[in-house]
């Protein structure tokens, strides 16, 4: 090969390597920025569709006023003590890809606050919000309400999963009311540990007697070699008439 030919070849190889480097840089832009932009838009429109579908509230007064939510600060503390224990009407699982609830986690309020909960845990569903493992319990039901969300990219709702602590509350809002779960135990698990979403985690044949919630995401944050799960149990349920739980007031302004 002549010196000129070798130079031309080297230049081609160099140009191709530069191009590949630019493509990898663009892939980072796509993953770290664009997927979050898309997920935020998808979550906002999914949430808007869901809230619109909830109107008018099932048992509420005619839609005369423009305020969609019942008044939050009507002394919820005082009313709970004397009222009969009331439970919101259960909801049924919709088709895969459809939302049915909103999730609020005060500890993660910068990311998980009114986030739509969508049936299914495929990438298409998780791109809209929190995913619900099909076949697991619905919010508030006896059994295990099992969910998953991204920890990095695609909305990264659970990006601060490592900040969760025992005792943190998770509020799930459905058409008929609110369910408040209190987180209790967490564990880093293998991706194949499907027992974590059993009705009674780890006891596949046991008959559930408690209403649990499971949150799952990837671990470590920027890889998927493991999974991280948090479990909590139901501590409070409130109907639309009772108004939202105190946890939802902690958002501030």
């Amino acid at each position: 090969m002549t010196a000129r030919g070798a130079r031309t070849t080297a230049r081609w190889v160099g140009d191709i390597l530069i191009t590949l480097g630019v493509v990898v840089a663009l892939l980072l832009v796509y993953q770290l920025w664009w997927t979050n932009v898309q997920a935020a838009n998808a979550a906002a429109s999914t949430r808007a569709d869901l809230v619109a579908a909830w109107e008018p509230p099932a048992t509420a007064t005619p839609a005369a006023s423009a305020t969609p939510e019942p008044s939050a600060s009507a002394a919820p503390e005082a009313s709970t003590a004397t009222e009969e224990p009331a439970a919101p009407q259960p909801v049924t699982a919709p088709a895969v890809g459809k939302p049915f609830a909103l999730m609020y986690i005060p500890r993660l309020r910068d990311s998980v606050w009114g986030s739509p909960v969508v049936e299914g845990v495929g990438l298409d569903e998780l791109a809209k919000g929190v995913g619900h493992y099909p076949g697991t319990a619905m919010p508030g039901q006896i059994g295990n309400f099992a969910t998953a969300a991204h920890r990095a990219t695609h909305g990264e709702l659970f990006k601060d999963f490592d900040r969760l602590k025992k005792g943190d509350r998770v509020v799930v809002e459905t058409k008929y009311g609110w369910y408040v779960y209190e987180l209790d135990v967490d564990k880093i698990i293998a991706p194949t540990d499907t027992w974590v979403i059993d009705p009674v985690p780890g006891q596949p044949d046991a008959e559930p007697t408690e209403a649990l919630i499971t949150l799952t995401t990837c671990n470590p944050r920027w890889a998927s070699t493991e999974r991280w799960a948090w479990w909590g149990y139901l501590v409070e349920e409130r109907t639309r008439d009772q108004g939202p739980p105190a946890e939802l007031a902690s958002k501030g302004g």
Binding site: D15, G120, L123, Y133, T194, A229
Partner: protein, 65 residues
């Protein structure tokens, strides 16, 4: 490669720069709309569910096994 492309673009320099801009724009659009969305499920950092690649299998199985 860049030199070869430049030599094969028609017209004077301003026209060639315009064509370069169009080529870059089309390429980036193609990457963002087709290539990267295709690649994403194949990358090892979007799995957040349990069950080995559960999100692929669950639709056939109905419920995770």
């Amino acid at each position: 490669m860049f030199e070869w492309v430049w030599r094969h673009l028609p017209g004077p320099a301003p026209v060639r720069w315009l064509l370069v801009a169009v080529i870059v724009l089309v390429t980036v659009t193609f990457l963002f709309l087709v290539v990267f969305p295709w690649l994403t499920p194949r990358l090892p950092f979007t799995d957040v569910t349990i069950g080995a690649h559960a999100y692929v299998g669950y639709q056939q199985q109905g419920v995770l096994q």
